[in-house]
């Protein structure tokens, strides 16, 4: 039998790179989180201030509000992307003329840099010059004004995210569907299972790990979205689309409040981690339990 040494050797480069570029910066951020440091503020020196940064963020309404609105954003965006992405991946499994062509078209949004996506959507939706408000008013008499209407701005950031990232979900789920063995499907058909039964009892259990991995990736990316939303709404109107990533960005860049920004980052990282870990444990435990039956 092969020894585990070979396995560790295969993992070694990955662990080394992630340890150097992942852990080292994290330790530095953790250190900063317990300090007051605003290099361009009234007091530019770095001073240890215990848990004051953390005490401050618990009562920071702006921060708490941004967490709530980020959670809402991630929930709607990721749920729609998974449902839509799965449906599209299934459609790509069928044979129809021009499949390769449509697949290429469908992946195009991915190639566009987030900063460009935000800019284009802004140009398309800015009242008075954008094509979308113009058409909506012309055709439906609806007045879209993302500068004033908070829920419209929120919905628009979700739609933009869906437009940009559904192709990623489609591709990863397509790869998973393509790797599935044929036999269980043939067997199910011989046994007379209908489409729904095949989906529920054969496809879904087999691609659940892939769906889970995709949900994780999309969820954590949605939770730290910055570029696109920054370009589209700059977090407005008010704080309607000021997601956590943007909030931190505003504290670290325009305000150069590094200590407080680091504290918020540590907390956000912690919340994301705990949430994902609970989800992961719940789903892995379920998988393990099934295996014993």
């Amino acid at each position: 039998m092969r020894s585990n040494t070979v396995g560790w050797l295969m993992l070694a480069p990955t662990i080394a790179i992630l340890a150097i570029f992942g852990i080292a910066p994290f330790i530095y951020v953790l250190y900063l989180a317990f300090h007051h440091w605003n290099p361009f503020g009234a007091d530019p020196s770095m001073a240890y201030n215990g848990a004051n940064n953390f005490r401050r963020l618990v009562f920071d309404q702006e921060f708490l509000g941004s967490v709530a609105v980020t959670a809402k954003f991630a929930f709607f965006a990721v749920l729609s992307e998974i449902a839509l992405g799965y449906a599209l991946a299934q459609l790509f499994m069928r044979e129809f003329p021009g499949r390769g062509f449509f697949r290429t078209i469908h992946t195009l949004p991915l190639i566009v840099a987030p900063i460009v996506v935000g800019s284009v959507w802004r140009l398309m939706t800015t009242p008075s010059i954008g094509i979308i408000p113009y058409l909506l008013r012309h055709w439906f008499g609806y007045d879209l004004n993302i500068g004033r209407d908070a829920s419209a701005a929120f919905a628009l950031t979700v739609i933009m995210d869906i437009w940009h990232w559904t192709p990623l979900v489609t591709l990863t789920l397509l790869a998973a569907l393509l790797a599935l063995p044929k036999e269980p499907f043939e067997q199910a058909q011989i046994d007379g299972a209908n489409r729904w039964q095949i989906f529920w009892h054969v496809t879904l259990p087999m691609i659940r790990p892939a769906i889970l991995a995709t949900v994780f990736i999309r969820l954590m990316d949605a939770l730290r979205t910055v570029d696109e939303v920054w370009m589209l709404t700059s977090g407005g109107p008010g704080a309607a689309t000021r997601y956590v990533g943007l909030h931190i960005w505003k504290i670290v860049f325009p305000k150069t409040d590094y200590g407080y920004g680091a504290a918020i980052s540590v907390i956000v990282l912690y919340l994301t981690l705990v949430m994902c870990w609970l989800l992961y444990v719940a789903l892995v435990a379920r998988r393990e339990k099934k295996r014993t039956f």
Binding site: P25, T172, T203, A213
Partner: protein, 278 residues
């Protein structure tokens, strides 16, 4: 049981494609308009085409350099990441390593960090820690290639793991019994079956590296500056040179499209292995 409704599918795809393409079409429209025309009443149809934005971009030597940097960085990064992730996933899937599920989860935590705060530690690492005499990791292509691993490697490992796990272990065992070495098993049994997954991983990591902006803007100045950063120089919150920005954005789509069509074949090749037939 096979139901074929090609016309219906075609119509459905045409509709979906219109939705997908519209913002990209609009990007193109912006790129071929003089700045003053952007603020008039919008119209869906393009009547005059103004190529000057493209001419300016193509004649700009600096931007061409950025483009080449971007190509080198994203292609090397995607290759490195795909190979490392493939090995890591194989190890996680086939070996009984102590704490491997924890390692698997730990990899993804590297992608969770909110970017803004981590720029500073990265900057310090690149300018003060990773230095040998006069040489610094700051503003080098190798630095960016390694740095992009922090978000691409976890992504690749997580997208590839289900594919590798899905390849039946019995195939490896059969090959081993026939006298194949570990390397031969990976190369001749697992690799061909994992090809659609590997192709998708390569494409997506390539795109992430190609589009990354914040880290490149902070950690490069000229020698390793990427095209996204060059593009962002035209985008500021106070005012944007929309035409030039859009023209660069459209041009950056071209290499991406070429890479896509090259890798696309491998996704299709995967169809013959495990296609689900209805």
């Amino acid at each position: 049981m096979r139901q074929q409704r090609p016309v219906l599918y075609l119509l459905l795809w045409l509709f979906l494609s219109l939705l997908t393409l519209f913002p990209i079409y609009w990007l193109f429209v912006i790129s071929v308009k003089p700045a003053v025309d952007l603020f008039t009443t919008p119209s869906l149809i393009l009547d005059t085409v103004y190529w000057k934005n493209y001419v300016n971009v193509i004649n700009n030597e600096t931007l061409r350099g950025y483009m080449i940097n971007s190509l080198i960085i994203s292609t090397s990064n995607a290759l490195l990441v795909t190979v490392l992730a493939f090995l890591a996933c194989y190890a996680l899937s086939r070996f009984d390593l102590a704490g491997k599920e924890n390692i698997f989860f730990w990899t993804i935590t590297n992608r969770m960090a909110p970017a803004a705060v981590f720029l500073l530690p990265f900057y310090l690492l690149f300018t003060q820690v990773f230095t040998f005499g006069d040489w610094k990791l700051y503003d080098t292509k190798i630095g960016m290639i390694l740095l992009y691993c922090t978000f691409n490697l976890p992504f690749a490992i997580w997208t590839l793991r289900p594919t590798i796990d899905g390849i039946p272990k019995e195939l490896d065992e059969a090959a081993t019994v026939d006298g194949a070495s570990t390397w031969q098993v990976i190369h001749e049994v697992v690799f061909p079956l994992a090809r659609p997954g590997l192709a998708v991983t390569f494409i997506l990591t390539w795109v992430f590296a190609w589009n990354e902006f914040l880290l490149a803007a902070t950690l490069t100045s000229f020698n390793a500056r990427t095209i996204t950063t060059g593009l962002s120089e035209y985008v500021t919150t106070t005012g944007t040179e929309w035409g030039a920005m859009a023209a660069i954005a459209v041009i950056t789509l071209i290499p991406a499209l070429i890479i896509f069509s090259m890798v696309q074949r491998h996704i299709v090749a995967g169809l013959t292995f495990g296609a689900v037939k209805e």
